[in-house]
Symmetry: D2
Subunit: 355 residues, 4 copies
């Protein structure tokens, strides 16, 4: 398989460029009989949509999804589900100079090295806009997992640049543009972002995703471990530079007597494992953490070169997220859903797991 | 594809259990014409072999590899290379009680939940012993990458539990059992480990791996990005709980003006990207960092349950690494080599890259 | 990978139903830099289009293709190419009774058994209409193969029911609706079909496809042999019940001294192998033959059952091809092109083959 | 995935060369809990073993299989099953001249063109000996299918060169070296083969394979249809030049009113479909037919060239089957079993099919 498909049994093939006619995904392998409507998908798309607050890109895309196949009378038929999202607010002229130069920290340079012929308009294929089809596909996985196993997948921002955001309540997450689980800290986040925009700079963030009610037994012994496939999916998301499960990098300083989660007759005593032991889900919450780098498209002048190798100063005007982490939460949820559904189907194949 | 194969074009299928007759790997997709001998592979296997210092498991396995296929007159033929390693020092009786109970933090529990019928002897399939075939396969990838592109892959330990190990020199790495790039710190590491063994406990570690001279252009735009496949491979290694590329989790607090590596006519000004931009290699060093948890097999008594759900205290006698991170360096190098070679072949397929 | 993708490196994922909003394909893995336009694809689509003669279905679909992604300034970028074809002439009411019953010889029954929820309108996913995206993808493969290696892929009808069509000239193929390479026999074919339509019955056919200038070395030793992948692609086409390569079923009665193609300094003395030896292309023409069954959608009354198991008589009105073989030639060419291109990329990956 | 693996969920990776140290297979994806012993596998291996009658190669290989992994206490664990068969009767000197020249009709030429460095001893990787691991893997699939669904897979020879063998009884098949289902015709077959050996020539054959009690619903709509994957597996077998399902090439002259199998309340009225409609199993017997070419290794002198392109006459001494079709029956059964099991797992994944 070529590189634009995620999953082995629940397969999401993503296509499109930021300023081309459309973006979309084909989902192959979805079980038949699932009730599904465009609204189910639109709900998740709207969560990641640009232009919803002053802290994200001002590109205004309705991101309206059309389901082209795979449904009959409101339920999936088991055949490929094709999802189409037209690009409507593409102002390519903003990016005119990008064909000939490279933003430091951006895929401009490597796409050129790899493909030579690249679409530079709005970042082309490397644009964060291409996460929309992922979110759309994830909406299907989320729904199926919820109906089959009661799986609940939720995420939040736990750090914005230097500001740590202590978890307080899930209830707050939907009420602020940052997906912060802590209403009291929102004004500080707003102020930080306002300052950043003035500077014309960008900042990193940290996102947490949690899946509850995951059945035990998902994952493969070697290589395609559940945590390995989660890491693959998450690191495959734009701007992610680090992925961890459970205690993550804190495991380095833990002793075995502390890290290993005690098992009691009524459950585990802690969850340093993050719900995965030996690559296989344990039934505990699957907890994932992502490090997201600052956007490379900034107004600040940076040293770069042209295609012919001459030194140049680059700044990016256009419309960009000063912190791509802000919109990353629903995307990370979608990715986790896709991986879990894929492994649920794989488990069902090999071990016959049913509800 | 089922879950025990790594790679899409350079495919490593791993088999075996810790105390079964043998372990091994079949490597499919290796280009023909590569000079290869058992010695090439044995060299890397010896680097990860148990029993080489008092700080690792005392199991004494020669780990002698036999090449069963895929070679003719000392060169690869392009057909599958089958590598066989017989198990010789398996003392299964040490693990007698493990069939009926679960070590906290260990795959015992999840294998039982997934497969029901599991081989408990020496950890069975979940044993770190199964990294030997990975190392063997990686030796082939390392050799090919070196000959084709001059790629050099090296790793070292950067932290042992609470002790950070500042990088000083590659020269030191092979001279101590910790793969520490800093000879002055080795006595402190030795003392720490001696104390830990007395306690009957275990500890985590951090490993860094670096690939130099990686050609630009390796990786796919979405999902199968080079960093995503590296994360998949690394998180698929026993005990790894976190993976990062380049600046990793430090990207969270970086601004875009700092993180984005400036480009000059004679190269990049820094390497926060870790050699990967937009999922595609840039030609800079690929730098990867792993968080490794403490072994779950410890002499300390821990609360657990039996298969029938009754409370029990568990301790693990047998022979175990008190810090699996100590032997992780050559394995992480092997995994990085396999991923890079796989992507080099994928790149050659799509874009026709040749030396 | 789920079941609606063809190819491992040149990957065609097909979606859609006969009377849904649209059909299409996403092609992943196409090399960058190939000049491509909608016209290139439309040319092949028009060759398989319905409604072009009285001998094929009277459904009138323009089958206009829109390229949604993967192109920049008229050349491929190496990212997925998404092709969209809207359904416009869908008269679903013609098929009203098909939800509750099963045409003998048709996929109605098995789709119901497999998926339960199936789209019965116009045959849904099992309609021959779904070959259009295959043809569209094949147009890209044909173009690339021609430019890279001078590969020429052509097909023709060699038998229509009882009437054998001796090969006379390629020149005639495009000049008659049957793809018959023999202008003299066309009136007989026309008369046969006119009679058949009056009867309300259908008939089988035999198609030959030939690829010239295929480079030697394409294919894998075991399992994924070139001929195996050709057989997979061809038998995956609606109504195909048999596939053969070279001498095919005539090999049964041949002796080795006759079948084995003699090799001379200036080439082979015959081509019983059909261009494939040991699963790998030899450089001779690749020759493939297909047996195509008669359409199951006929006006003749046939015994069948309802979903609840009661006996019923079924006839199919709607608009159907009385001989699906008539439009099969361009589809078989497309399939051969896709397989050859996939193997050319695989060969380039492993063995570095370049022109 | 590279080319030496068969199956997507039940994955058989085959390795080895005819005169190397060993041949074997790794089977990944087998469900846990299946009772399995070396004897189960040995039974099928003995059916294809050479040296059992004067009509097949006189190479005497015990073909003794060793199970290296994947079993615990006599049942599968769900982890990879590694099967090893040592080569013991390899007389490589018989093939001394083959490195420098090419047998007409043999893979010698194409392996050289593809890989350049090839193992010529005993045909190397292209030897029919490599079907032994396939048969071993098929034994596992046969057993699982029988236990899960009562599937019964059997084959027979229906034609030996010019001699058609009318089906009379399954009882006869195991009682003669030809797998002929007709005891009366065996003397004629014996006489034909004796004459052929004297001539130093070889002959083709036709094999039929039938799977009974296949559950309805196996297969995918497009591309990976059940019949397509059967065709892929069968055409991937050495010497096969044609594959057909059900009525096969006779469908060409059938009308729809004849070909389409009538459906009655108590079952189908005929089986022209061969158990597959629209690529999905119908519950009827799956019937497959194979055309097998004559062996290319014959004593008769044939025109060929050397590696440097000079004309030469070639004859093959060594030990060879004058009709590879004679031993093909158990191999074809194994291939059908592997494909059916793979699709049974795929079906279970997507549609949750259980017994």
């Amino acid at each position: 398989m070529s590189g634009n498909t995620l999953g082995k049994l629940f397969c999401v093939t993503n296509y499109g460029e930021s300023h081309g006619p459309a973006i979309g995904a084909v989902i192959d392998g979805c079980p038949p009989g699932l009730e599904l409507s465009a609204e189910d998908i639109q709900f998740e798309l709207d969560r990641r949509r640009p232009g919803t607050s002053r802290h994200v890109t001002q590109r205004r895309e309705p991101d309206e999804v059309e389901i082209l196949s795979g449904l009959y009378e409101g339920r999936t038929t088991g055949t490929p589900i094709s999802l189409l999202i037209r690009n409507t607010d593409a102002r390519s002229k903003d990016y005119g100079n990008l064909l000939d130069t490279f933003r430091p920290g951006h895929a401009d340079y490597t796409y050129w090295k790899k493909f030579e012929n690249r679409d530079p308009r709005g970042g082309g294929r490397s644009s964060a806009r291409l996460t929309a089809p992922t979110v759309a596909a994830g909406a299907i996985a989320k729904k199926w997992l919820r109906e089959q196993y009661g799986v609940l997948i939720r995420g939040y921002m736990s750090q914005l640049g230097p500001i740590r955001i202590p978890f307080q309540t899930w209830d707050s997450v939907a009420d602020n543009p940052f997906y912060a689980p802590n209403p009291g800290i929102v004004p500080e986040l707003e102020a930080y972002m306002d300052e950043l925009r003035k500077e014309g700079d960008s900042i990193g963030a940290r996102i947490e995703v949690v899946a509850e009610n995951v059945p035990a037994g998902l994952g493969e012994p070697l290589y395609d471990r559940l945590d390995a496939d989660i890491a693959h999916a998450m690191m495959g998301l734009n701007a992610v530079k680090g992925v961890s499960i459970g205690a993550g990098f804190e495991s380095i300083t833990q002793k075995g007597s502390e890290h290993g989660d005690a098992i009691y007759a009524d459950g585990f005593g802690s969850n340093h494992a993050g719900g995965v032991l030996g690559g296989i889900s344990s039934g505990q919450d699957v907890t994932v953490s992502l490090a997201i780098k600052p956007t490379s498209s900034i107004r600040t002048m940076r040293p770069s070169i042209t295609r012919s190798g001459e030194a140049i100063e680059v700044q990016t005007l256009g419309r960009h997220d000063p912190c791509v982490g802000i919109r990353a939460t629903p995307i990370a949820e979608a990715l986790l859903a896709i991986v879990l559904m894929d492994h649920a189907l794989r488990q069902r194949a090999q071990c016959g797991l049913t509800r």
